[in-house]
Symmetry: C2
Subunit: 457 residues, 2 copies
């Protein structure tokens, strides 16, 4: 019998090479042209889980399969459900990548590539931590169910039905998710919140075809102008979302959490410099971290109308499209926001155009139970690895299945993530710290041990 941490150290080069293999599969779930790649990523992952010593299979869904792996050799120990996703975001704009998105490349201690941080790199830390335990000791300190879905980046439409259909196999005490980041390099962190998401397309249609802007300009509504009017109507001058009723369900955060947020080493000047902007923006009356973690927001994700190529085309376009999404906080829901948004858009839409709102996906916000033995087990594992007590941090992004799982499985969720600020999630040049790939695996090895010491439910 050897030590799993020693095993990690001896195998880390192979662990890296395997991750590269995983990252090379372009599992872009949003694009149907990558459907086969997405399935290939699931099959590859399932194979690695089998090789590590778990029993693994693919669960079919109407879209991308779910990888379900299990190890149940410790009847007296608690059961841990590990959740992650093997799908990745689209990679456009491609020309801004310094190395190809699906060619993992190390520069300055960072592993660049789509999915390094979100979430293949972090999901694979779990696979390797499990392997380390099984290889070193022949067993795991906990029972494990690992679930990796392929639709996280497109709103997890198959996941809630999967939870319902496989409820019995998913019974667990704790859910562990590594799909978030650390507050800063050297500052281990545990997540206390996630924002929800309500993502829409607005389609504005005018005349039956594009028109000459000279021959028709001034007499016909222009969908591009109409869309700009609609999008501009979504914010007030002080940075609030101007959709009537939008804030009705927003809870004020407790003073304790706001006080803890204020203790974090955040510097607006450095943040501004890191982003390359002259000024920060957002809702008046809240600090930057509050704006990111405990306040809702509304952003344009895409705009398209008319002629966008080189030179001047004098076209009066007959269509305009915006992708617009809201980040939600407790207790907002995507369904209510959709209803309010649709009403608002219908009210502000100018005459002479047709406007359609299409919902692309949604997810609920989440707030953690920041006490208890499971939370302490994670805090201790992070402290043992990084030499520092973790801070509590919010999450601006959304993992809609976290509240779903807590509710349906009756288990506590732990958000233990290892990506670093500025790691370009969903953007060109996404990266993961090479050193933290190893530290992540080590933390998870310790976390399973700590959770193994808890009593099973």
């Amino acid at each position: 019998m050897s030590d799993p941490l020693t095993f990690v150290g001896s195998q880390i080069d192979r662990f890296r090479a395997e991750l590269d293999e995983f990252l090379r599969i372009p599992s872009v779930s949003a694009k149907s042209e990558h459907d086969a790649d997405t399935r290939r990523a699931a099959e590859w992952l399932s194979g690695r889980l089998e090789a590590a010593g778990l029993s693994s299979r693919l669960i079919e869904t109407p879209w991308h399969p779910i990888v379900l792996a299990e190890w149940r050799g410790a009847p007296a120990a608690p059961t841990v459900l590990i959740y992650g996703h093997y799908d990745v975001q689209p990679v456009e704009p491609l020309d801004e990548w310094e190395s190809p998105p699906f060619e993992p490349t190390v520069r300055d201690g960072r592993l660049y590539g789509r999915g390094t941080a979100d979430d293949k790199g972090q999901l694979y830390m779990h696979v390797k931590a499990l392997e380390a335990h099984l290889a070193a000791r022949g067993s795991l300190p906990v029972n494990v169910v690992l679930v990796a879905e392929g639709e996280e980046e497109v709103g997890s439409p198959s996941f809630a039905p999967f939870l319902d259909a496989h409820r019995a196999s998913l019974d667990c005490d704790v859910v562990v998710i590594s799909d978030t980041g650390m507050f800063a390099e050297g500052v281990p962190s545990l997540g206390f919140s996630l924002r929800g998401l309500a993502y829409f397309e607005i389609h504005v249609t005018g005349a039956k075809s594009d028109l000459h802007s000279g021959e028709y300009g001034g007499a016909v509504a222009n969908p591009g102008n109409a869309l700009a009017k609609i999008v501009a109507s979504l914010h007030t001058a002080d940075g609030k979302v101007a959709v009537p009723g939008f804030y009705d369900d927003v809870l004020d955060w407790d003073e304790e959490t706001r006080a803890q947020i204020r203790t974090l080493p955040h510097d607006d000047g450095a943040y501004r410099a890191e982003l390359g902007v002259g000024a920060l923006a957002g809702e008046k009356g809240y600090s930057t971290l509050e704006r990111l973690w405990v306040r809702p927001t509304c952003d344009v994700n895409g705009l398209l109308s008319g002629y966008t190529g080189e030179g001047a085309k004098t076209v009066l376009p007959n269509r305009a499209m915006a992708k617009v999404s809201f980040r939600l906080v407790p207790d907002q829901t995507p369904a209510k926001v959709r209803e309010l948004f649709e009403k608002h858009v219908a009210r502000v839409a100018p005459e002479g155009v047709r406007v359609e709102v299409k919902e692309l996906h949604g997810g609920r916000p989440w707030r953690a139970k920041i006490e208890g033995a499971a939370f302490e087990a994670a805090a201790q594992a992070l402290e043992d690895t990084f030499g520092k007590r973790p801070v509590l941090m919010g999450g601006g992004g959304s993992i809609p299945i976290v509240p779903e799982m807590e509710e349906r499985l009756g288990a506590t969720a732990l958000l233990v993530g290892f990506s670093l600020p500025g790691c370009n999630l969903h953007a060109p040049n996404e990266w993961l710290s090479v050193a933290y790939y190893r530290k992540g695996i080590e933390t998870l090895v310790r976390l399973y041990d700590n959770l193994g010491g808890l009593s099973a439910s």
Copy 2:
């Protein structure tokens, strides 16, 4: 000696086949990938002019060449300068063309293809009318200078320098341009106005790269939202352009012209149905034809930001672009509008983004002298061909070189055009009436005769 009109009748099939050849050359002046095609169109046209009996050559410019053809065998007669352009608009969106844009195709008496109406088809009517005179009689009733440029669709940057450099060869009494349309089928028309143009790109830049809309949304200005705010600020609620000072130089049109506009058989209901819109739009207090002909306007020509592909990408884009153009009326100038527009954009741009305005091109508006012998010569030629006295009509589009030529050459401009409403100028499925291609040639044969009867300057 035979009659030129008889010659036209006997040769019309060949005239059509030659036009098809001309239309097949994709002379898209805005796109550098078509630079060679654009030159090829100039060379082809010059060859046809030589074959018709004129002496023709290409005048080089910094971009696309100008075709300059002359016939000076009637020293006692007036000199007519015929102006046209052999370049065409881009063809996007390609998938909306029912037949390929550079494969001229006849359906229901209409010749479909890019450039059929604007302006290759109409320019080529002149070439064939000149050939008819020379073939039938061995001479022309007037001296002719034909000038065809290849940069009309990109703002004619080389044309004013060309006018200056070749001032002596361009001396003329009348300028004839066939690059406009008729008010309706069976309603011959003479142009009394053209709007000017001021075309810009607005570039909004935020952070140094695209960001994750969850990780950063709410703390950083979104260029897509900022652009929408800027574009929305360009109009007031009653459809006026909201740029301060924009109307300072707009002349009230004379009551005579407005009264004549009211006599035209325009029906808003039919116009709405033709365009497929539920309601017309535009500046309150003016009729549709006034909005199109004697009032300025502002239109989005293109919008682009972030992710515009299939599905939901939660990106906070770092760039957004709008193409925005103004149609101008006397006495607005592109230079003044640029200045007002830049000031306005700088004033309304939100904090946290950089905004740049780029001028793509501009042209001045024009108002005709609607009396005199030349005007009467054109009216008579139209009446003899169509059996009806022409109406006076405005033009919503821009031919910036018309005011330039009137001013620099001291000649009267005649706008005698043969395209029909709904002919999809600058849009997919541009077309020219096959019957009016012939009627156009016949009208021009008569017009040269009528102008030959005037005294030379």
